[in-house]
């Protein structure tokens, strides 16, 4: 099987990650729930992982790294924990439902939402975003890169605008964390939300957020914390404030190994490799008659994603044929990005998304190009 659905989850992980999870499941206790070796082993691994995450994102303090189960949970915590009724919020058509649905939910509670429009290539103008800023605007929430087109966003520029206008800047780094350089200080990011199982190469069920020091986020959950047992309220100190309940220590051990792998290999090398593979595929399919590609490929760097359609064929049918005839795994349909499909004009047809990993090979790319060519010939 040729796996090209890495924007959904990277299926192939470094072997160290698999090994670390296995070892953790045989040796780890519950972090922060005792002073015995097994519990301390979990606590140490989790603390060391906080440091690695903090360093990766240019944070100032590992205590500001909160572990959650994925980006969706992090975004829910940030959106519901920072916005009050009456606040105006700006987001974009590029967003995934993990951003949009919590925002729509907050709209029912009285926030006002403006959505920056994208063109047919899935790109928005930052000047359009700036024009939407009103006196009651509280936050800008946007992705670092579209999970559908792979188009990236200039976070540094948006962060600068947010800072100039005194707005909170919340970023969904689901598609970019672990491959693209992210510096929360330089980019003026107040809350960075990430998942562990995509380009960070960790296990599913890991993820988290980096919260700027001094920013207080109202927690979604309260419960066990391992400290202040007899207090009726959940501790307010970070990161415990946002981490009620047992953490996914086994998964975080895997994420730790993944972060070490990324540090050893270097994210610049991984990104370069993925860009090469993505460009090779793009060049191979862009001239095929009947193939329509979505997204902006004039940008130097973009997420390693190519979304396409063949004529007016149902994207699900094409994806199914790719699997049955060529054993290529892709993702058809809507990709939880309803507004992006609206902008691209693909609400009915969906799109076939090929998303690559540095573990893919040139041979796999060429097989996929041939497959698209053959399918495009079919009547």
């Amino acid at each position: 099987m040729i796996y090209m659905d890495n924007a959904a989850t990277t299926m192939r992980k470094p072997k160290q990650v698999v090994q670390a999870v296995g070892e953790a499941m045989e040796s780890m206790g519950n972090a922060g729930r005792g002073a015995h070796g097994a519990s301390l082993s979990a606590s140490r691994t989790i603390y060391n992982t906080r440091e690695l995450v903090c360093n990766l994102f240019g944070g100032t303090n590992p205590r500001q790294v909160v572990f959650t189960s994925n980006s969706t949970e992090s975004l829910n915590i940030a959106i519901k924990g920072l916005l009050e009724p009456g606040a105006h919020v700006i987001t974009t058509m590029m967003e995934h439902n993990s951003v949009l649905r919590p925002l729509y939910e907050m709209c029912e509670k009285g926030i006002e939402l403006s959505i920056v429009k994208c063109d047919k290539k899935g790109v928005f103008r930052i000047s359009d975003m700036e024009e939407l800023i009103e006196p009651q605007t509280k936050a800008i929430i946007c992705t670092g890169g579209s999970n559908l087109t792979g188009n990236c966003v200039d976070l540094e520029k948006i962060g600068q605008i947010a800072r100039e206008h005194g707005l909170l800047f919340i970023v969904d780094a689901s598609q970019t964390a672990g491959v693209f350089p992210i510096d929360v200080q330089k980019m003026h990011i107040d809350v960075l939300c990430f998942t562990g199982h995509k380009s960070l190469l960790g296990p599913q069920g890991t993820g988290g957020m980096y919260v700027r020091e001094g920013l207080s986020v109202r927690p979604l959950k309260s419960g066990g914390s391992g400290v202040q047992t007899y207090s009726r309220s959940h501790p307010k100190e970070m990161p415990t404030a946002l981490e009620a309940g047992t953490l996914n220590g086994h998964g975080i051990a895997g994420l730790h190994a993944a972060l070490e792998y990324l540090n050893e290999e270097g994210i610049d090398w991984i990104r370069k490799r993925e860009q090469e593979l993505m460009r090779r595929f793009y060049k191979g399919v862009k001239e095929i008659p009947g193939v329509k590609i979505y997204g902006d490929f004039s940008a130097m760097e973009r997420c390693p994603i190519v979304a396409l359609n063949i004529r007016d064929y149902d994207s699900s049918e094409v994806s199914d044929a790719l699997l049955l005839d060529y054993e290529i795994s892709t993702r058809p349909g809507a990709h939880c990005a309803p507004l992006m499909h609206e902008a691209l004009g693909t609400v009915e047809q969906g799109a076939v998304r090929f998303s690559f990993s540095h573990y893919n090979t040139e041979e796999e790319i060429d097989t996929a190009i041939c497959a698209v060519k053959e399918l495009a010939k079919e009547e």
Binding site: A31, G32, R33, G34, A35, L40, S43, R44, I46, Y47, N48, R50, N61, P62, R63, G226, V227, Q228, T229, Y230, S231, P235, E237, M238, P239, T240
Partner: protein, 78 residues
């Protein structure tokens, strides 16, 4: 239970601070170890850093260096 002696016990607001303390002490070669918080200090659960009374200054230095603030610092028979 066992023979006790007077020790310095530092408590923290979070497990994360306790882990930062352990790492900082280890890095600087400062003696001590993590223990469950004794009941004389708190009836709740949690971790505390336990060291000899003579190590108070060394411990304070580690905490300053790594930016950890104690919840409390006690002298306890342990």
């Amino acid at each position: 239970m066992r023979k006790k002696e007077l020790k310095l016990v530092v408590t923290f607001h979070t497990t994360t601070d306790a882990m930062a303390m352990e790492k900082g002490c280890k890095k600087q070669g400062t003696p001590g170890r993590l223990i469950p918080v004794p009941r004389e200090i708190s009836a709740g659960c949690g971790l505390a850093w336990c060291a000899g009374l003579d190590d108070r200054e060394l411990i304070r230095k580690v905490m300053d260096d790594i930016g950890v603030q104690e919840q409390d610092m006690h002298e306890v028979m342990i």
